[in-house]
Amino acid sequence: MITITFETLPEKTCVRLSGELDIAATTNQVDELQQVLNIADKALLIDCSELEYISSAGLRFFMQLKKESQAKGGSIRIAHLNEDVSDIFRMSGFHNLFTIE
């Protein structure tokens, strides 16, 4: 179960992900995740301070987001990964694909 909150700032949109981004979330919460993909043309700051877990299905969502962003001329920065999630990003090589703060 993932909770997504949006905060629009003058120079960027802050997307806060809370909870677990796993197969259940990507299967059952397509509409909510689509809202993030819909604003991929903007400068997004993905705040993961409350993201507790990410599975390969969750990583695929980041992959989709990046593709959308590149196609629409947006940008993505990922911030505040906790240790576990950061490990997953690192081990899966995703830290090579994203700007992580």
């Binding site: 390969s56 299905a57 695929r60 593709k67 081990m91 899966s92 995703f94 090579n96 694909l97």
Partner: protein
Amino acid sequence: MKKKSLPIVCAAFLIIAMTIQFIVSYRHEKADLMRQMDYKMELAQKDFLFEIYDMHEATDEIAQFFTEFNTGTEDLCALLQTVLYDYPDLYCCYLTFLPECSPNPGQWCSPTAFRVTADSVIAYDAKDCIPYKQRDWYTGALKNEKNEGHWSLPYKDGTHEDLVFTYSQQVYDEQDQLVAIAGADYTLAWTARLLEEVKPYDDAVCQLFSTDGTLIVGSGDATKVRDRIMFEKTLSPTDMRLVISVPKSHIRRSITGISLITLTVLLSGILILGLLLRHIKQEQDAFTRVETANKLMEKEMQIAHDIQMGILKGNSLKAQGERAELQLDARLIPMREVGGDLYDYYLEADKLWFIIGDVSGKGVPAAMFMSAAVNLFRAARGRAHSPRQIMEEMNAVLSENNPSMTFVTAFIGCLHISTGELIYCNAGHCAPLIYSPVTRNPSPVTLTPNIPIGYDGLFQFTEQRAHLNPDDTLVLYTDGITEARNEQRTMLGMKRWADIVERGQWNVDSLLNDVQAFMGEAEQADDVTLMTIHLTKNA
């Protein structure tokens, strides 16, 4: 479907309840009606009795005339005429002297008055014109006790075209000597009219029976006794029986109260139940169609499962190198029928080439990607010279057209059996563990993550090297293991996984059992793949 049977049960229960209600109220109403009919019958019988009691009164009057006036035959005729005027329904009345007590001793004498038309009456002495001794009213009355009237059966009296019947009684003189018989007649036609008048319902039939059961007169046909409800009463003091009957259908027609409303509701209930059942039947049919489709799908998924398992190599391999012996074991347990995990291996001379991988996502889409990945790995057989080369080739192809952004994390290795030299290339896969019986500490191989394959076809992967000593085990797995959760949703994690590997080493079944033990009753949430490669020195 259980849910759907509930309304049927309720409706059926309701209908049963209403049926009982209907029966009870029907019986109740029927009993009411019967009581009401009983009452009406009694009234009718009383009316009838009241009317014919006139005969009794008339003969009493005649007897009184005789006693009071003690007059001659002519006067008696005149008096009898007045009786007919007093009792307009009587047809005839007479005072018949016993021959021995006759005003003309030894001769029959019978002053008689009878009705010619409704308002015309004549009177005369019938003398010996009538065979008195053959008449029931005469002989019967004689046989009776004093003051006991006699009701005759209908008979033809010779003065009237219709049959008549008579009430007669004995007449005594001042010395209390039996001197005559007084009689009064009714015609049967008149009686029939009377019965018609007193009958309580239009569909009722009234019948008058004599003491011996002979039908005297009836107002209609009542021969089908079985279809009729009979009310019977003896008309005391006459000994005649008046039977009034109504057809049984009379009851049905008369019941109009609660039971009729109940019946209406009951019938509508049955109608609604019928519609409900039809609706449920339709739903069931739809359900059956969906079920059939599901079964077909299940069957197809089973086939897909078999195909996928067929794509995978056998789960065990032993290989002999020049200086070492290799034992490989692998298991893949998909979460659903098909999954996105993969492993493969092949021997080429002294080298073992192998891959383990995990396609992002689950089910059929992941399985299709998985089979493409395995086939690409196999296609490189015989011409690949490094894991990196295979990885880059696979990446290039899988990245070519990948709109769903599905990717594969993979670890490709090439183990030189004789030397234990391991060359490997990683694409975002979790780090395999090397277990050495010397250190007894499973440690992850040094890993450059690179990126998962399927995304950036031009990515340049780095290749790494490690060394396996004899008795070392390389444990390769997918994140379905380290991210397995127990009932408290706690993840297995690297620490516990390392402990399990330390215990089970290259025994795949033992390792998986330990993981299952940690999970307890929790459901498997991801595909699980495990491959162990164990090297031993040649004996």
